[in-house]
Subunit: 99 residues, 4 copies
Amino acid sequence: MYVLMDIMVSPGGVGTSVSPYVAMCQKIFEESGLTHTMHGFGTNVEGEWEEVMAAVKRCHDDLHQAGAVRITSHMKLSTRTDREQTMYDKVNSVQEKLI
Amino acid sequence: MYVLMDIMVSPGGVGTSVSPYVAMCQKIFEESGLTHTMHGFGTNVEGEWEEVMAAVKRCHDDLHQAGAVRITSHMKLSTRTDREQTMYDKVNSVQEKLI
Amino acid sequence: MYVLMDIMVSPGGVGTSVSPYVAMCQKIFEESGLTHTMHGFGTNVEGEWEEVMAAVKRCHDDLHQAGAVRITSHMKLSTRTDREQTMYDKVNSVQEKLI
Amino acid sequence: MYVLMDIMVSPGGVGTSVSPYVAMCQKIFEESGLTHTMHGFGTNVEGEWEEVMAAVKRCHDDLHQAGAVRITSHMKLSTRTDREQTMYDKVNSVQEKLI
């Protein structure tokens, strides 16, 4: 099952500078070979369900190891059975209605 | 790793009556033996990471089988390493500050 | 326009004990006369759009005043024009399918 | 108060093709003069609190007018008092840790 995900990882108990922790997750998505794009409130990630979920688990594991005593992730997960669709297709579908 | 989750499952392409689909997920959480409580915008679920994630996967699988061609789940996942905490503890911690 | 909302307010830069800040928001919803119910990952609030939004704004204002230098709120907002529906109706609609 | 927002607007009761409705919201953000960037699961919007909230309200109003009988918006709202920060700054702050 192919899944499109949006994830925002919020480490707690690490002060106000959270960007090093967010960068750690970016590297995990990269190393996992998953298509991913960062935006101002999270990261779009897509791939096979098991691989995407394994990357999310690794984010929590690694950030805890790095000193974040609390982590809350906000996620959106989309699956569909009617046709294949990538994140790129979704954005394109809106943009062609704006021309 | 113990995880506290909030999940709102939104089936698409099934008309405006989504409650039968939400009820299917409730049964999955129940059958999975996970602690769960429904509220107006989702369900609080807690348990071991792998078991919670397996239940989420089963929700998507079963709802697709039941005719939902699109499903988007909105989730919050919290893990912590400093101490054990249940959903009940979290709510209690706020409520004792309101007395 | 009547709105059903779910809100989770996350103060940053205040250490790991966030419950006093969450309690402040509960009091604001109470004082605003809005129907509200807390759960493990937020609070269900319902009422007229302008009143609900004024309460959200007051949460951010008051928590900043109380020392939270960063606040992120995660919200869900539902409106519908086909019929009236309260949060209680939504939960009930699922629960009667579970019997 | 300056606010950074992420918003995903989900119209219900309109079939599976939601992109025309999402495009309507894009036009509202554009006409409102707010900085906005679309991604695969929503749109980053930033500006003064009152202006941003007025645009959100107009999205719900206009989509209802266009036939969406149910609308659920998933939003993240961030405010901070320690320093000014745009969405661009946030993304940059992570990206410079990835070099």
